[in-house]
Assembly symmetry: C2
Amino acid sequence: MPNRSLALSEMTCADCPIRHRAVCARCESDELEKLDAIKYYRRFEAGQTIAWAGDKMDFVASVVEGVASLTQTMEDGRRQMVGLLLPSDFLGRPNRESVSYDVTAATDVMLCCFRRVPFQGLIEETPHLSQRLLEMTLDELDAAREWMLLLGRKTAREKIASFLSIIARRDASLKNSKNATELAFDLPLTREAMADYLGLTLETVSRQMSALKRDGVIELKGKRHIIVPDVEALMDETGDDADGGVYI
Amino acid sequence: MPNRSLALSEMTCADCPIRHRAVCARCESDELEKLDAIKYYRRFEAGQTIAWAGDKMDFVASVVEGVASLTQTMEDGRRQMVGLLLPSDFLGRPNRESVSYDVTAATDVMLCCFRRVPFQGLIEETPHLSQRLLEMTLDELDAAREWMLLLGRKTAREKIASFLSIIARRDASLKNSKNATELAFDLPLTREAMADYLGLTLETVSRQMSALKRDGVIELKGKRHIIVPDVEALMDETGDDADGGVYI
DNA sequence: GACTGTATTTGATCGAGATCAAATGTCGAA
DNA sequence: TTCGACATTTGATCTCGATCAAATACAGTC
């Protein structure tokens, strides 16, 4: 399982407004300068499409702020989210000019973009960069595989609980908060986007959220703010092993 | 979408019994020699477990022959396959000593193993190697995302048709066969393993196979040998776009 | 060739989640 | 404050795939 807190090797880009997981953790200052030379920032509003599947994309990017989603759509409109990008996550594929998925800003998003072609050149000449990208991609693959278990075998209730604990965990690691028993966070997704994430309908998402509230596993302040009074109780609902699949 | 026929940059290892996709396509002979120095072959019989989730694994490997699966199991026994490794696919994660999934030989399997620690050293000093692994991992991530759409949104019939077309396609690319309208191949998985792949029960798999046979989409010779009289007709059952998601 | 264990098929029934429909909450603009 | 556009919740019903159960096919092995 990816260990996000370990993977977070943060550093400050020269003119980056906030600290984020740098694309390359071990770059020397001259490599950082080269990255700086090909980078720029772009902001997207919640709901805005960053790229459609099939579009040419002339940059790759690191998410600085906000949440973006990768979604696949079938001809008849059925939709499945296949990627959820939080701050420090990487967007785009080097050596491929067209995107394979719809990329959408779930909340307001700030991207740190790198022009794709020179970025590819940098990968060629900077060994650490491809090693770093390999690590990040392997983490993403692990996450995708956990997601596959969720989609293929979990009940609706387990799916919701798993989603909440994933968001809570990643939110906590971003905020570097200690693992208190109580946890509070904002949902970055609508019920519909949650349904697309979980392979459910939005009605089922809503019903199961209500059920978890009724059973005291979560509290809702407004529609989007979640309080988890007892993290253990939430974990028990996910269907996952108690140790979270971490082997010693 | 990963283009396997393009990705197949085959070369012959010094003493490799068959040609397989080399781990590094652009290695010069001295790097190949270093790979040769840390490699050995292992054979597993169908049904044998190659590694249990949590086991330490002191090698990474390339599948030379046969089919292996990665599977996750929940405490109550629900199982989901999360990876299917065919010849030329890579097994194991550099820089991680324990496996995260149960690895099982679906058929008799021959692995070309590389001792993990020296292999990691080789990654450090051979830029092309990590670039090659990055490409392969990104292909695998794309495959995982297509798989997620299947698990989350497709009907049982679409899942079966998709699985058959995936196996047919990969089988054809391995055999380098021209894209004839008719196609024949052997299923490398039992009905139960197919169910674990597709997030279904084995009864549903069996029923849908029978339905596809009844409707003339496939023919069965024995339990495992499949004939697809009209590839287009099978594709129409998958729910995927006609162009297979390839953007021009 | 009969026997045994396993893989697969087929049948009958059930239930979780989808679907269709309507009510309620919410927030910004006029 | 009221209106309108959404997001969300709740209700009633239906359906696909799961579950439980049994029959059949098949590959070894004695």
